[in-house]
Symmetry: C2
């Protein structure tokens, strides 16, 4: 609901209706609207951590990120949630502002760690800047999601991110992943 309507416009009544209870019943489980939003964000982060957190830093994690983007295409609600909310929450007074800033810091750290590891292993072009790359990768990701939601340019988020990474890797990501796999 927050994804489809944004936080401010999505109403507790609608959420309650979807859950099959009354609005007052919903507020029994979550004391107020912000608490519900926090719970939604926390739950989604748990899911995301499970899917990408297992991979070890390096090309393996980069592959997991692309794979995560690919799977996300089947969860449009989640994409909407973060596209709408990350824009809405740029306002400092927005209840999710602190969360969003923390989240960007968190995912940037993970990407920087993996890009640095990839560079140390000679997979990344030596002139590449991991921090800039990480920032640009997630920027591209976010922007492509908006185009995908708007159904313009017939875009694939995962393909776009993968193509962007390939630009900076010495070989295409898929090849690198196959090689790393074969070494085991």
């Amino acid at each position: 609901m927050f994804g489809a309507q944004g936080y401010e416009s999505g109403s507790l009544r609608e959420v309650a209706a979807l859950a099959g209870i009354s609005q007052a019943g919903l507020l029994h489980h979550f004391p107020n609207k912000v608490a519900l939003l926090s719970a939604v964000l926390e739950r989604r982060d748990e899911g995301a951590s499970e899917e990408t957190g297992r991979a070890e830093p390096g090309v393996h994690t980069l592959g997991a990120l692309v794979e995560y983007a690919r799977q996300s295409a089947f969860k449009p609600g989640e994409i909407e949630l973060f596209a709408v909310l990350s824009a809405e929450a740029t306002r400092p007074e927005h209840p999710a502002n602190a969360y969003m800033r923390r989240r960007y810091q968190w995912i940037t750290d993970i990407a920087v760690e993996s890009l640095s590891a990839a560079r140390d292993q000679g997979h990344l072009r030596p002139d590449a800047d991991p921090l800039r790359l990480a920032s640009q990768m997630f920027a591209l990701w976010d922007g492509l999601q908006i185009q995908w939601l708007l159904k313009v340019n017939d875009v694939s988020v995962a393909d776009g991110v993968e193509h962007f990474l390939d630009l900076h890797l010495v070989k295409p990501l898929r090849e690198l992943l196959r090689e790393v796999q074969a070494q085991r």
Copy 2:
């Protein structure tokens, strides 16, 4: 107001207060809220067309786009408007949905035209795909704006877009612009 709060949350009363008139007074000039939104969007597009429309297709227009991004850093209200609104308007029922789809089509066309011209003049790497590049450039642009608004990763939208273009040009954009300038 629509930029800071989003369309749904920004109220006519607040807009009217900023304009120094009453809410009913505001509705005398714009029959309803959607009409006000349309007027805001139209006015901003007029301004944007003036600034980039003069340049001829090719590296000149690419330079104008980067310059436009650079100047936008001094108009945070406008950036917020489009960041929040383009996410919010991904919902098909949103009053600005059709506008946003048209707008993406429009700016993509302009960029594709210029990237194709640049390729024909040998400024672009021959393997580059103008449509994909245009889509990715604006995706990167949108995503960097969100990071900039959130004040994470200490990002410059214009630098990011320029750096991305440089990846696909045979020489850095600045050098190409200097050369084209010198030829006159």
